[in-house]
């Protein structure tokens, strides 16, 4: 595929999936964020802090207004990564249907880049994170993300060189990747912040937000596969043989 259609397919699919994610989050994740911020504000008032509720309300409008734009930026940045991986791996993915291949790759990337890191460092609503530990927590999160992503990439490169059946290759890949993740999970420090709000709220937030991110990846894969099929036809060189 040439540069322009390739970029178009990649960025448009990310923007579509990101827009849907933002809209869905406004409906299903925002109530949990509102509730957490409400609890945080109540705790601050109880602790004797001076809280400007009008300023807080203004902040919330600003924060909510960025949900869809944030979703689009998030979608485009992850679809950029997805596009690169798909461009290099599409011939190695099983099957002949490009759409199915794209959905399969999106599922794998969702597992490696979201679900696995979330097992060690799950998402938290506002009122949980301590501003003083933000850079430390970001470092831990990125480290685990890189370990998961690099391991998946390394294992994929390794099994390509092994002369085995597909099922054995998959078994070897899963075993090595699983072993690396288990060791990393046990070796890496936990999130240092204590959770001082209701665990029911935190768990519900984690579950709902994870569901929307999984949905995002599946929409990204399906949209990407559909657009790839549509635009790639232009790049098929017709050869007539007699």
């Amino acid at each position: 595929m040439r540069s322009l259609p390739f970029l178009l397919v990649t960025l448009v699919s990310g923007a579509v999936a990101g827009t849907i994610l933002g809209i869905v989050n406004l409906g299903v994740v925002e109530p949990y964020i509102d509730k957490a911020i409400q609890l945080e504000t109540q705790n601050e008032i109880r602790a004797g802090e001076n809280v400007n509720t009008d300023e807080m309300a203004g902040y919330r409008i600003w924060q909510k207004s960025g949900e869809i734009v944030g979703g689009i930026v998030y979608g485009i940045s992850l679809s950029s990564l997805f596009g690169i991986v798909f461009a290099y791996s599409r011939n190695s993915l099983p099957g002949n249907n490009v759409k199915v291949k794209a959905i399969l790759l999106a599922s794998i990337m969702c597992f490696v880049l979201f679900i696995v890191p979330s097992l060690k460092y799950p998402s938290n609503p506002p009122a949980v994170g301590d501003p003083d530990t933000i850079y430390y927590r970001q470092s831990l999160f990125v480290a685990f993300l890189v370990i998961s992503g690099a391991s998946a990439l390394g294992v994929t490169a390794l099994i390509k060189k092994i002369n085995q059946t597909v099922s054995k290759k998959v078994a070897i890949a899963c075993t090595i990747y699983g072993a690396i993740i288990i060791v990393s999970y046990l070796a890496m420090p936990s999130n240092p912040d204590k959770i001082s709000i209701s665990m029911n709220l935190v768990e519900a937030f984690r579950l709902v937000s994870a569901a929307t991110i999984v949905m995002f990846w599946e929409i990204l894969g399906a949209t990407y596969g559909t657009l790839w099929n549509r635009f790639n036809r232009q790049n098929l060189k017709k050869v007539t043989a007699f």
């Binding site: 964020i33 924060q63 944030g70 998030y74 940045s77 990564l81 850079y135």
Partner: protein, 73 residues
Amino acid sequence: MRMSYTRQLLIERPDIPRVAIGILVAIMLFGLFSVGFDQGQLFSLVEGKEAFDSNWLHEFVHDMRHAAGFPCH
């Protein structure tokens, strides 16, 4: 009786545009930093130290940052 036939083959070009890959890497890094990690750094390039207090961009993508699982305050 002489038979003749025409066969059409569709051959996919295997090349991956490297310029496009480079553009996507740049977009990915900038986008992920903006949504997931910025604490005022991007706007401090034009706004100075004040950007770390106002955290304009951080607050704008605040809810998406939480929902996407990135660490936040």
